[in-house]
Structures are given as C-alpha cells and as structure tokens.
C-alpha cells in the first residue's frame, strides 16, 4: 500500500476516535492536517488523474469530507459547512460513476438543503433540488427538507415546527432549531400585517415564547413600533400609511418630457 495513503488513513482513524469521544477540538485540528495531506493526491478533484490507487484515495477523501461536514454541524459552524460541502460535492457528482454510492450521501445533501432553507437562500435551494434524481427525492432525508420548504412557503408554520420531532437524523436538530428562529421572525412579520391587535397571551403562544417576559423583550428589541397596552399588542401603528393625496408633479413632468422627446424622434 502507498505510504501516503497509509499515513492519511491512520490519521483519519485517530480523527474518528476523537469524533466518537466528542473531542471536537482535536477533531478540527486533525481535520486541517488531513486536508493538507489530501492535496498531495493527484487523483482527487480537480485533477482527477487516473493513478493506480485512485479509487481508494477517492473513497478515503470522500469519507473524510463527509465527516468534516458532520463535524461542522456539531461545532455549529455554518461557513465551515458550506466550504466542506462544496469540497465534497465533486465526489458525488463528478466521481460518482467510479465509486460505490455512499451511505451518507442523501443525509448530507438533505442537510445542505436544510442549511440553504435556514439561510433563506431559496433560489439555491431549488437549484440543488434540480440536481436530485427521483430516487433521491424519495429518500426520507431529502423528503424532509423538501416538505419543510413547502410548508415554509405556504405559511403553514405549525407544520415546520412539528417537523422538528421527526427529524430523520440527530444532526438535523441543529438546523431545525435555527429554522425555528427564522419561523418566529416570519410569524411576527405576518401578524403585524394580518392582525389589528392580539392579546398578550395569544401573541406569546403564536410567537412560541414560554413567558410574557420573553415576549416583551422580543418586542422591545425587534419591533419597537408595536404598542403594548390593556393586555394586548397593537400593530396598528406600523400600518398607518395614509394614501398620498399629493400630485407627484416632478415625476409627471419627467414622464411628459420623455414622451415629447420620443415623439420628436418619430416625427
């Protein structure tokens, strides 16, 4: 066996051991060393040279990056997640035909979809979705994310929140918690427009706070224009936008002048 490959796989074993111990500091440490070592393999993307050990090297590298992605979720680092995921992606797309399919693939793709949803990058979410085959869409991990997006777009926020209980994998919980925060902001925004007022009790339930105190703090920080009186929250203030009765003269002048100019050109 190639000495370099042996070195990397030994180090990866240590990484996995640390990973199981939940010693994430040394994991991160080992990971950065591993990544440096991986750059020496010429069979990996972007070179994809067909060396004799190519398949073994690709498999090892794929597993390392898969662990890296999961690790980034555990240490709650979204940027690292994005980086690691993009490094991992070519192994699924470009090298997919040469390697046996990975057990982790759908789990990780689903995680990525969820991340995009949490970060409210819906366009990218759909771009990723287009890349998935029909069988992938049937997978529970992917399905979970897709259904979440649908409920989210419809506005069925209850369904989004209840989905937390049946998350397909423990790593999903982190993103689901983040999603709950996004959902709260969405609900606040919707309520502001949809209701004239809400009793404090209802508002607390709707915005998923456990105590009135938390609710009042939230209002203070995020929505100072809401008014709290007589045991209710009034949104009316934010909605006061009387129809403008003034004639938009400057705009009209500009428009008329541009018509004149264009007509001049035609005649």
């Amino acid at each position: 066996m190639d000495p370099q490959l042996t070195e990397v796989s030994q180090m990866f074993e240590r990484f996995k051991a640390a990973f199981i111990r939940k010693d994430f500091d040394s994991c991160a440490n080992l990971l950065s060393q591993l990544k440096v070592l991986l750059t020496k393999f010429r069979s990996l993307p972007p070179l994809f040279e067909n060396t004799p050990n190519a398949v073994n090297e690709l498999l090892l590298a794929r597993e390392i990056y898969e662990h890296a992605v999961v690790l980034s979720v555990k240490i709650e680092d979204q940027d690292a997640f994005e980086r690691d995921f993009f490094q991992l992606k070519p192994y699924y797309t470009d090298a997919g035909s040469r390697l046996p399919p990975s057990q982790q693939e759908y789990l990780i793709l689903g995680l990525n979809l969820l991340r995009l949803l949490v970060q409210n990058r819906i366009a990218e979410f759909h771009t990723e979705l287009e890349l998935l085959s029909d069988t992938a869409l049937e997978n529970p991990c992917i399905k979970h994310a897709v259904e979440l997006e649908q409920s989210f777009m419809e506005g069925a926020y209850n369904r989004v929140l209840s989905a937390r209980q049946n998350a397909p994998h423990e790593t999903y919980v982190y993103f689901m918690d983040l999603l709950a925060k996004t959902v709260r902001d969405e609900i606040a925004g919707c309520s502001e427009k949809a209701y004239d007022y809400l009793s404090i009790n209802d508002a607390r339930q709707m915005l998923l706070f456990s105590s009135d105190q938390e609710l009042l703090e939230y209002i203070k920080e995020e929505h100072p224009d809401w008014e709290v009186k007589n045991g209710s929250v009034y949104f009316q203030k934010a909605k006061d936008s009387a129809p403008c009765k003034e004639i938009p003269s400057l705009q009209l002048i500009n428009q008329t002048l541009s018509y004149a100019r264009e007509l001049e050109r035609i005649v």
Binding site: I122, A123, E124, H126, T127, L129, E130, L131, D134, V146, Q150, M153, E154, G155, A156, Y157, N158, R159, E186, I187, G189, C190, S191, E192, K193, A194, Y195, D196, L198, S199, D202, P243, C244, P248, Q255, Y259, E262, R265, I266
Partner: protein, 484 residues
C-alpha cells in the same frame, strides 16, 4: 408538422432519382462558387446564403453526390479528402466512376480554400447525422473541430458556428454531451479572443444547453453572467439564449424575468419551429401560474400545440379554481409527462399558488368568514394552519383582509377605488414606454444589405427565393424538433 413535410418530400426522390443526382451536384457546385466569392470578397453574408441553400438541399444529399462533390472541391489525395471520403459509405460503383471522370477534368489547383474545406466537413457531417450514423458523425465533427482550431479567418465564422452546432448535436444524440464540455469551453475562449461574435453566441448557447441537460443550473448561470454579451447576430441563437435564460431564471425563482424571457423566445421563434415554441409555452405557462396569473385560453389553443399543452391546460384549470384535490389528481395523472418535461419540481411549487387562488376566491366572496370554514374549503389539515397561511397571504399582498384571532375569523376589506390612486397612471406610463421602446427597436432592427441596389431580382427569382426561405424555415423547425 414533421409529418406533412415528409409527405411533401417523399414523391420528390421517387420520381426524380435519375435527374436529381446531377442537379444536386450542380447546386452544390454553385454553392461552392458562392462560398469562394464570399471568401475572396470577405462577405460573410454570401456564406450565410450558401448555408441556407445547403439546408434546402439537405434531403437530396446522397453518398455518391457527396463523394463526387468532395473530389470536385478538394484536392484528391489531400488529407481532408481522404479523411472525409472514409466517412462516406461506398455505393453505386459506376456512378462514382462517371463523377470522378468529370471532376478530373476540373482544374484542381484553385480549390484549396479553407472555407471550402470546412464547408465539405459541414456537408458530410449533416449527411451523416441525417443518415443516423452518429458514431461516424462524432468522429467527423471532432476532426473538423480540431481543424477549425488552427484556422483563423473571419469568413469562416459562419461556417464554424454551424459546425459547432452539429458537433454538439451529434454528441447529444449519442448521450455523451458531458464529454465535450471542456472542449466547448476552450472553443468559446478561442472565439472570444478572435472576436468571433457569432461563434461566441453559438458556443455560449451550446454550453448552456450542455449544462442544463444535466440540470447544472448553478454552473450555467455562472457562465452566462460572466460571458461577454453583445447585440445578437442570429435570431435563432438569440431565441435559444432567451429560452435557456428563462429556464435558469425560473429555477432561481425570478419569475418576472423568466416570464419575459420565455414569452419573448416563443414570439421571436420562427413560426415553423413548433417543437421549440411548444417548449417555451410549457415553461411560460408554469411561470405565469407561479406568478399568480392565469394564462388565457388562446395560449392552449395555438395551432399544433393543443395536444402537447393538454396536461398544462388541465393544470391551469386546477390552479384557476383553487382546488387542491383536483390539482393533486392532475399532477398524478400526467406525472410521466411532467417528469419527462422536467417540470415536475416546478409543479410541486405550484401547490402554494393553488391555495392562494382558493383563498383569494374566498376573500372576494365573503366579507367575513370563520377560519374553520376556510380550512374546510381549502382542505387544509387544521385551523392553525389556515390561520398562519392566511396571515402570510395578507403579508404578501395576495389578499386584502385582516384576521380576528379572538373570534377566529377573517374579515375582508372593501376594495378601494383604484382610480383615486396613481395606479392607472403608472399602468398607462408602462404601456407608453413599451410602445416607444418597440418603435425604437424596430428602427434599430432595419438592415440594409450593402449590395441591395445592384441585385434587382426579377419576379421569378423572388418567387424562387421565397420558396427557399420557406423551406429554410421548415428545416429550422426540424432542427428544433431534433433538439427536444
């Protein structure tokens, strides 16, 4: 569409077999001289015309005609000649002899123009594709592309653009499109360096097509946004570009832009390019539905499209009524069509619009309705769901209403008098702007060919030209059909 073309074409070979071969050859020779003059005068327009004439001859091409044309146009024994001849199947021994005999009389020295050589490649390639000999076509196209890379002449651009197109087509037909991606990128780079705008345009489209074939929307958009843009040279290429752009925009949820691109592509496409227009319409319908518009019935009744658009018609109907149950059953009924059109994911997105439309209908009909009834009418699972869905619809401006949480009901607001706002004025302004813009574009699009005053065509010639143009349109239609 293709059927009646074939019906017209079929009698032609059967009754004119003996005479067609020399006349086709004769036509080809004329085209060759056209290319020659074009190359000497540096007039790309003539070469463009030559290609158009070739397309008219496309169906009459035969191996024997081609091989005799090759020996006419190329120096026998030259590298290109031997290579191209090897792709052609051998048949009709005696005819071959006759042809070589006649061509031997021609002085071979003057026919060494690179334009002519590339034209021969193009001709053989088209022939091979028409004969469904895709493997030979692949070999031939690759050879022609590597030859093209070494030639740098502006008069070649038109021919090269065509070659690129067929190069990609034969790889697509054999399902190996991903193989040529890096090659296309290299060609695009070369075309950019040589200021070959037609080539850039064609290659950009081919690359976009290549990416979209594998659903790589991300890469396609990155390439598109960074590639240099300029005034379109060819209407067909521009249509394709708009279509691909529309698709990308749809996936990225920029529906307003997408709609504009797709509708424009459908309008600009030649009438005969039915397959292309059907595709554009399918996508445009979905995008309009996603925007919350309901396409008019006439869209679905366009000539030759009724059948293809049928699933989309039923879908539109479900969205228009706002019936989730009907929507689900339509989506299931036509699921194979939708997944072969690769619009399945978009249709999943539509569910949300069905709810919106249903909600809007309720909001218009009732001034006050309990949320429990809303949930029942929209067939939602729970009242809580209904409440948050209504709240979101209000925030997004889909309906004008308020919610009363304590009584659990939705109160619709009276619609205000629209004429008291500036709304009509802005609508009027945007229409005027559209008309003025249209006028300006029409003026800009007028083209005056440099030699138009010299060539005064007789009535007969004009008729002939018009006929050729019609045939050309048909061929474009078929090309587009091939693509889908």
């Amino acid at each position: 569409m293709t059927q009646d073309v074939e019906m017209k074409e079929q009698p032609a070979p059967s009754n004119s077999v003996p005479s067609s071969s020399p006349s086709t050859l004769h036509h080809l020779k004329e085209i060759a001289s056209l290319i020659e003059t074009g190359a000497y005068d540096r007039e790309a327009r003539r070469i463009l015309r030559a290609i158009r004439l070739t397309m008219a001859l496309r169906r009459k091409l035969k191996a024997s005609v081609l091989s005799s044309f090759l020996s006419f146009a190329l120096t026998p024994g030259s590298e290109a000649f031997t290579r191209l001849s090897s792709y052609l199947p051998k048949e009709d021994e005696n005819e071959m002899e006759v042809d070589t005999a006649t061509s031997a009389a021609q002085p071979p020295a003057k026919h060494s123009l690179p334009e002519l050589e590339i034209y021969c490649y193009l001709l053989v390639l088209i022939f091979l594709i028409d004969q469904k000999k895709y493997d030979e076509a692949k070999a031939c196209s690759s050879a022609s592309i590597s030859r093209l890379k070494n030639l740098n002449r502006r008069t070649l651009d038109v021919l090269a653009a065509r070659l690129y197109f067929y190069y990609s087509l034969c790889y697509e037909l054999t399902g190996t499109l991903s193989e040529i991606r890096s090659n296309l990128l290299a060609l695009h780079r070369i075309a950019t360096l040589r200021h070959d705008e037609l080539g850039q345009e064609t290659l950009l489209n081919l690359l976009l097509r290549n990416y979209l074939h594998y659903n790589l929307y991300d890469q396609a958009e990155k390439l598109r946004s960074k590639a240099p843009r300029f005034e379109a040279h060819s209407n067909q290429q521009f249509c394709r570009y708009l279509f691909y752009l529309g698709k990308i925009r749809t996936i990225q949820l920029e529906y307003t832009d997408a709609k504009e691109c797709l509708l424009q592509a459908a309008r600009k496409a030649p009438v005969a390019a039915l397959g292309f227009r059907v595709q554009c319409n399918k996508w445009a319908i979905i995008v309009r539905l996603l925007l919350g518009e309901i396409p008019e019935r006439t869209v679905f009744m366009q000539k030759g499209m009724e059948k293809a658009l049928r699933p989309y018609f039923e879908l539109t109907n479900a969205v228009r009524i706002g019936d989730l149950e009907l929507f689900r059953s339509v989506a299931e009924k036509f699921s194979t069509t939708f997944s072969s059109d690769r619009t399945h994911n978009l249709i999943v997105r539509l569910r949300h619009n069905v709810i919106r439309t249903g909600l809007r209908n309720i909001s218009i009909s009732y001034s006050r309705i309990a949320l429990a009834d809303v949930a029942k009418k929209l067939r939602l699972d729970s009242v809580a769901d209904a409440e948050s869905i209504v709240a979101k619809a209000i925030r997004d401006g889909a309906i004008d209403a308020t919610l009363d949480h304590s009584n659990g009901c939705m109160l619709s607001k009276e619609t205000g008098d629209i004429y008291s706002t500036t709304e009509p004025q802005t609508a009027f302004n945007s229409r005027i702007a559209f008309c003025l813009n249209m006028h300006n574009e029409a003026v800009r699009a007028l083209r005056f060919p440099p030699n138009s005053h010299k060539e005064k065509e007789s009535a007969e010639k004009r008729r002939e030209r018009q006929q050729q143009e019609q045939e050309l349109a048909k061929h474009i239609a078929e090309e587009d059909d091939d693509e889908f």
